[in-house]
Symmetry: C2
Subunit: 392 residues, 2 copies
C-alpha cells in the first residue's frame, strides 16, 4: 500500500460489523462514525464548538461548493479548511462527483471530466480528476475522495456501465494526481479514498469494486446510493460490494442516511457515513428518535411538556411544546435546536452501535431498532425536502 | 416600599455612574448590565447555553409577542417562562407598552387600555394595565413592567402630555394589579418597575418621574427613547430624569442602544439596558468593535485573516474572511456567529464599564471610547434595519 497518513485499526468484530479506530493527522475517530456535513465550511446553524460538545468527531465539506464559494485558493490563503472553519479534528472532502448527479441539469460530462455551469451565477467550473485533487489539496482535509461519475438509480444499464468505466479511469488519474502531490497537503498528509459505483447492478458493482481494490488505496467508499434506489436495492448492493473490500481498510457509505439506514449498514460492515438529514430535517422541524422522526410542528405537540427524548443536547431540557412554538413562529432557533438534537442523536446512535459490536450484540440491537423505528411516509419526507443543492 | 423580591445594592460610585448588584429570585446580576432580547422566549439563533457561556446574566422577553404566540396561559401550563425557554437566571418581561409605539398602525388606544389587531393574523388582543400584569404573572419573570403608552419622538406636545397622563394613571392600576396578586407569581416573587415617559420635553419627563417615584416601586425605567429622537435629545432627557430617581433603586433605560449609547448612559447613572441590536445587526452581517460596527459583507474583508477582535466568543478563532464567506453565501451560521460575537462584545463592554466605575475612571473610559468609536452612517443603519416588529 502507498504510504498514507491514515490508519484504521479494527478493535472488535461482530458478524459482518466492525468497530475500530480511524487515526488521521487531526486526531482519531472511533468507528462506525457519522460525519456531519459542512457544505460550505460551516454546519447549518450549528457552530463547530457546539458540534464538538455533542460528540461530533469528524466532519465533511464539499469540494464543488467550496470551489465556487469562496474558491479553493482563497481557502488555502486563509490557512486551509481546518483553520478556515475552525475545526481542529479530522475532516473529509468529497470530490464533486456527487454533484454530477445532483446538479445533472447544470453539467456536461466528457471522458476528460465534467463542466458545471454554476447553480449560483452561471459561471463555468471545470472538474477533472486532476483538478478535483488539486482543489482538495488546497482545502487540506485528512481524507480526500477520488473524482467519480455518480449516475442516478433509474439510469439505463448502458449509462451505468459508462459511468463505471469512467469512474475506474478517473480513479487511476485521481490516484496519480494524489501521488504526484508533494509537501504539506500532498499525499504525506492526505489519504485518498476510492469510490465504488455501479448503480443497483451487483455485477457492475463487483467490477467497480475489484478495479478500485486493485489500486490499493487507504480507504474505500460506496457511492451512488441514496440517489433514488429502494432500501432493498441498497442492501443488495452492500451485500455484493462489502465482501470484496479489504478487511483492513475503512469503508465509507456516502450520503446515507436515516438512523435505520445507518443501523442496517453498520450491521453489514460499513464504518463511515455522512448525510445532511440531521441538520436539514432539523430545520424542517423534524426530530429523530428511536421511534422514528417526530414532526414537531404538528398541533399535538403544542402543549407536550416532555423533551424530545433523553438525547444529551441543549434541547433535552426543553419541552416539545416550546420547540413547537419556536418552529411555528418561524424562529431560526427552533431549527438550530432540532439540528443540535439530531446531530447528538446520530452521534449517540453510533456510540450505541459501537458498544453493541464490542458486546457482540449488534444483530440483536439492529433487530430491536428495526422493530421500533418507523420512517416518515414518503409524502412527509417530500414535504420536508428541499432541492438537493439548495445549500447543503 | 412595598416588600419586593428584588434588591439592588450599590457597590461603587464614580460621578453619576454606579456599579451594583441586582439580586432577584433567579440569581444576582452585577450592574450596569445588558439584557439580551428573547422576544418569543428564545434569543435569535442563539441558545440559552451559548448566551450563558458568553456571560449573559439576565434576559428580556416580550409580553405582547408571547401573548399572541404561544399565549400566556400555555406558557404558564408549560411551567412558566423560565422553564419554557430553559433559562434559570434573572428575567424581565416588558408590558406591551412599547408595541403601542412600534405597532402604531395596528392598535387603538383609549383611556382603559389598548386594542391591538395582531400583526400576524388580525385577531384582536386587548391590553390593559390589569391584563398586562396578569399576562406577566403567567410568564413569571423576576421583573415585570408597568403598562405604559409610548409616544413617538415626533409626537405633538398634546399627544405626549396625554400619553404621560395615561402612563401615570396606568401605573397606579398596574401597581394595584401587581399588589393584588397572591401566591407564586404574585408580588412576593415579581418586582414591578415603573416607566417614565414624557417624550423629549424635560418638564413632562420630570412630571412623569415624580409621579412614578411617589409610588415607591422596586425599580424605575426610562421609556420612550430610541424612538426617533437625536442623541442630544436623549442625553437631555437622561439629565432631566436621572436626578429625580431614587438613589437606591435600579434604573433601566429601555431599548437602548449601540455600544456608545450604553457608555453614555452608564456614565449618567443608568444600570440596566436591553436592545435587539446585537442579534439583529449580527444577522445583517454587522459586528461591533471598539472602532465601531464592521460591515463584514464588504469585499474588503474577503481575505482578511484577522478575527473581528479579541472578544471571547466562538467567532474569535475565525477570520473575517470566513465570516464574510458565510454571510455572502447566506449561511445562517454567519448571522449566528456575529450574534454570538455581538452579545459577547456587549457583555464585555458592561464588564469594562463596571471595572471603570470601581476604579473611578469611568469618565476617562467614556472619553476614550467616544474618541475611538464610530457609528455607522444613517444610510447604513437603514440598510441593515428591518421592520421594528418583524420578530424581535
Amino acid at each position: 500500500m502507498v504510504t498514507a497518513p491514515l490508519r484504521w485499526q479494527c478493535t472488535a468484530r461482530d458478524g459482518a460489523a466492525r468497530a475500530g479506530l480511524l487515526v488521521t493527522p487531526h486526531g482519531a475517530v472511533p468507528t462506525p462514525s457519522f460525519m456531519a456535513v459542512a457544505t460550505l465550511g460551516g454546519l447549518k446553524g450549528v457552530t463547530m464548538e457546539q458540534a464538538a460538545a455533542l460528540g461530533q468527531r469528524i466532519i465533511l465539506a464539499n469540494t464543488y461548493h467550496l470551489a465556487l464559494r469562496p474558491g479553493a485558493e482563497r481557502v488555502r490563503r486563509l490557512g486551509g479548511l481546518h483553520a478556515f472553519c475552525g475545526w481542529d479534528g479530522p475532516m473529509l472532502t468529497d470530490s464533486g462527483g456527487y454533484q454530477v448527479f445532483s446538479l445533472a441539469a447544470h453539467r456536461v460530462i466528457d471522458d476528460e471530466g465534467v463542466t458545471f455551469r454554476s447553480h449560483l451565477d452561471g459561471t463555468l467550473l471545470r472538474l477533472t480528476p486532476e483538478e478535483s485533487i488539486r482543489i482538495q489539496r488546497c482545502l487540506g482535509a485528512d481524507i480526500i475522495m477520488a473524482f467519480d461519475e455518480c449516475p442516478p438509480a433509474a439510469a439505463a444499464r448502458v449509462v451505468v456501465e459508462q459511468a463505471c468505466a469512467r469512474t475506474a479511469r478517473w480513479l487511476e488519474r485521481s490516484r496519480a494526481a494524489w501521488l504526484a502531490a508533494e509537501g504539506p497537503g500532498g499525499c504525506a498528509t492526505q489519504a485518498l479514498f476510492a469510490i465504488v459505483q455501479g448503480g443497483t447492478d451487483p455485477g457492475l458493482r463487483a467490477e467497480s469494486a475489484r478495479a478500485a481494490v486493485a489500486l490499493d488505496l487507504p480507504g474505500y467508499a460506496i457511492g451512488g446510493l441514496a440517489v433514488g434506489e429502494s432500501a432493498d436495492e441498497r442492501q443488495t448492493v452492500l451485500d455484493a460490494v462489502v465482501p470484496l473490500l479489504p478487511e483492513d481498510r475503512p469503508r465509507y457509505l456516502m450520503g446515507v442516511g436515516t438512523p435505520l439506514d445507518l443501523v442496517e449498514a453498520v450491521a453489514r460492515g460499513l464504518d463511515l457515513f455522512d448525510c445532511v438529514l440531521p441538520t436539514r430535517m432539523g430545520r424542517h422541524g423534524i426530530a429523530y428518535t428511536d421511534d422514528g422522526p417526530l414532526r414537531l410542528k404538528r398541533a399535538e405537540y403544542a402543549e407536550d411538556p416532555r423533551p424530545i427524548d433523553d438525547t444529551p443536547s441543549p434541547a433535552r431540557r426543553l419541552s416539545r411544546g416550546y420547540l413547537h412554538h419556536l418552529l411555528k413562529a418561524g424562529e431560526v432557533l427552533g431549527g438550530t435546536l432540532l439540528s443540535l438534537h439530531n446531530l447528538a442523536y446520530y452521534q449517540r446512535l453510533m456510540a450505541r452501535l459501537r458498544a453493541a459490536i464490542r458486546g457482540r450484540r449488534c444483530a440483536a440491537f439492529a433487530a430491536q431498532f428495526r422493530a421500533r423505528y418507523r420512517e416518515l411516509g414518503d409524502a412527509a419526507v417530500a414535504a420536508g425536502a428541499e432541492p438537493a443543492e439548495s445549500g447543503e
